[in-house]
Amino acid sequence: MNDKIETPVAEKGMSQGHVLDLKLPIGWLLSAYGALLTVYGLLTKKEMYAISLGYNLNLIWGILMLAIGGGFLLTAFLKKDKRAR
């Protein structure tokens, strides 16, 4: 929400800050989970999803997580790209 709102840091002699962009590990983790669940959902039979009211939830949720994870990776790379320029 407000990570773009940057006022100059007042303190002197402060450390550089932690440049690790958290969007990357979140993005990779969620994408990997998404890919795994999608593939698993495609490989498994319908009977397994009787408990989830007949929905192949692994497939549905896998695709959703791929989208969310991908979104994080995309914003992280776009930001990096902008900084590089």
């Binding site: 929400m1 407000n2 990570d3 709102i5 940057e6 006022t7 840091v9 007042a10 303190e11 402060m14 450390s15 550089q16 800050g17 932690h18 440049v19 690790l20 958290l22 590990p25 979140i26 990779w28 983790l29 969620l30 990997a32 989970y33 795994l36 669940l37 698993y40 959902g41 498994t44 397994m48 999803y49 408990i51 989830s52 009211l53 929905y55 939830l57 692994n58 949720w61 896998g62 997580m65 969310i68």
Partner: protein, 539 residues
């Protein structure tokens, strides 16, 4: 006993993936940990959205999630009071009114503020009680996790305890508070992604909110309507809810507990620090979606919670049984990972708060003063090892307590409830004196203890344990408030010049950001308005 849930290779791969990412994040932060501020306060460099989500997740531990699902099955929609009354106002108050003194005064810890505002004795009392509280809490969360995984998955108790302890140790030792905060942000996403499928399937099966209305008792469906007397599922009247939960317990926890305040102190500037709890308040309002709905669904779909079985039902098992009821392997692994993540981050949060308090307020103040920063950085790292070792020990002590949630609430009402009176007077009444603060806090803690003994002895009676807990907090707060004022009238005043930056009225107001959409007051007001609307809808 056979485990409740059987996991397969895909589930284990998901769990392993999370552990791997956490350890890698910790390791990659290692090179930034050059000073004490880096290790204990993330170099005061993090953006508001990260500290905000961490602020929320530090509180959204697995015990909290499991306990709130259990409360919802037991008390119904009234559980929302823990969020819309018991959290949002306090979080907004912290951001708008208190954060300028915390962040603005450049203190590194909550006890350090007490030292500047009151005196050394007040700081010592708070630092020592807080250090004890955090290792107890971290031990409880460790034990609860191991117990849950033993019953649910058949994992050995000691194996789970040691494994989780080593993983948390690795990433906190390397990455300090940053590791802990990053873990909390990842946990935030995992909890939502892990539990939402249960919410959707549950609503689908019972026929949505109309299904609840048709099939559940009327008293379980309203948040406020039955609060006129204590004859409602909570066993608490409106005064207890508003004053005990909404005012004393909630403000005591959200505004003075270093575990959450530390997240805001890691922000990169005052505006981000003030926005931290306010950003957190928006997802906080939505948490009932993933705890209250599953709780109500459990009543309707699980045979363990049918009318006949209800008197003996173990409410704490509601969430786990729902996971078994709805989730296929794969998603099951994701939900287990979400619980594992929130247990580990709960423990890491306590450990990072402990090592900071230990290093700055106990070791650096009473044991070895005036050492170079590198010395304290090293002490902090070893305090992490030490803190985790004690947590493992307290995990085994926690085994002897039958009800962990009650035990945690009890600890909060002992230490946090009176502390809020000390802070309120300290920040907003310039005549409060050093010894006023000390005696107020001490008498407040003793009042809570006295009330607890009288309640257990049967001298005081309430409609429910929860009511006793709320009223205990009110009495402890009141005692602290009255004694602090009383003693302050008769003890030496502080020079107002020393209190600049610490007390309202002696401190210049923080300059409002020119852009209205960056102002904490704007977002804070919005949060309050939405919370009121939600309360009216579920009246």
């Amino acid at each position: 006993m056979a485990p409740v849930i059987t996991l397969n290779a895909v589930d284990y791969a998901i769990i392993a993936g999370y552990i791997l990412v956490m350890v890698l994040v910790g390791y990659s932060l290692k090179k930034y940990m050059k000073t004490g501020e880096d290790f204990f306060l993330s170099g005061r460099s993090l953006p508001g959205w990260i500290t905000g989500l961490a602020f929320l997740s530090a509180n959204l531990g697995a015990l909290e999630v499991i306990g709130m699902v259990a409360n919802s099955a037991k008390y119904g929609i009234a559980t929302v009071h823990f969020y819309w009354v018991g959290a949002i106002p306090a979080m907004v108050f912290l951001g708008i009114f208190m954060m300028p003194f915390y962040y603005g005064s450049k203190v590194r810890t909550v006890p350090e503020y007490l030292k500047l505002r009151y005196n050394e004795a007040t700081r010592g009392l708070n630092a020592i009680s807080f250090a004890i509280m955090t290792v107890l809490m971290s031990g409880i969360s460790l034990y609860a996790m191991a117990l849950l995984f033993k019953i649910m998955l058949g994992w050995p108790l000691t194996g789970s305890i040691l494994f989780a302890a080593v993983v948390v140790l690795l990433y906190v030792f390397w990455g300090g508070l940053s590791s802990s905060i990053y873990n909390e942000v990842i946990q935030f996403f995992l909890i939502w992604l892990g539990l939402l499928p249960i919410v959707f399937l549950g609503l689908k099966e019972v026929g949505g909110f109309a299904g609840f209305a048709a099939k559940l008792q009327e008293t379980l469906l309203h948040s406020v309507k039955y609060l006129g007397t204590s004859n409602n599922p909570l066993g608490v009247d409106w005064f207890g809810v508003v004053m005990g939960l909404g005012f004393v317990l909630s403000f005591g926890y959200w505004t003075t507990d270093f575990l959450v305040v530390q997240r805001a102190l890691a922000s990169k500037n005052l505006n981000s620090a003030r926005m931290t709890p306010i950003i957190a308040s928006f997802p906080k309002m939505l948490v009932p979606l993933i705890v209250v709905i599953p709780g109500l669904v459990a009543l309707l779909v699980l045979p363990e919670f049918s009318q006949a079985a209800l008197p003996t039902a173990d409410y704490n098992s509601a969430l786990i049984l729902l996971m078994k009821h709805y989730l296929p392997n794969g998603l099951l692994g994701l939900a287990i990972t979400a619980l594992l993540a929130s247990f580990m981050s709960g423990m890491a949060g306590n450990v990072t708060a402990f090592n900071t308090i230990w290093t700055y307020d106990i070791y650096g103040s009473y044991i070895k003063k005036g050492q170079p920063d590198s010395h304290y950085l090293k002490v902090g790292k070893y305090a992490t090892v030490f803190g985790i070792a004690i947590s493992v020990g307290t995990a085994y002590i926690a085994q002897s307590f039958p009800n962990l949630m009650d035990y945690m609430q009890l600890i909060f009402s002992f230490f946090n409830a009176p502390l809020f009176a000390t802070f309120l007077l300290g920040m907003f009444w310039k005549k409060a004196t050093g010894w006023g603060g000390f005696w107020g806090l001490l008498v407040g803690i003793l009042t809570a203890a006295g009330h607890f003994i009288l309640y257990k002895a049967g001298v005081l009676t309430y409609h429910s344990d929860m009511a006793a807990n709320f009223y205990q907090a009110i009495w402890a707060w009141l005692a602290d408030f009255v004694v602090t004022i009383g003693v302050s009238l008769f003890t030496a005043k502080r020079d107002p010049k020393e209190l600049v930056g610490l007390v309202f009225g002696l401190t210049p107001k923080p300059k409002a950001d020119a852009r209205w959409y960056a102002r904490p007051a704007v977002w804070g007001t919005l949060a309050i308005i939405i919370a009121i609307i939600l309360n009216v809808i579920f009246w």
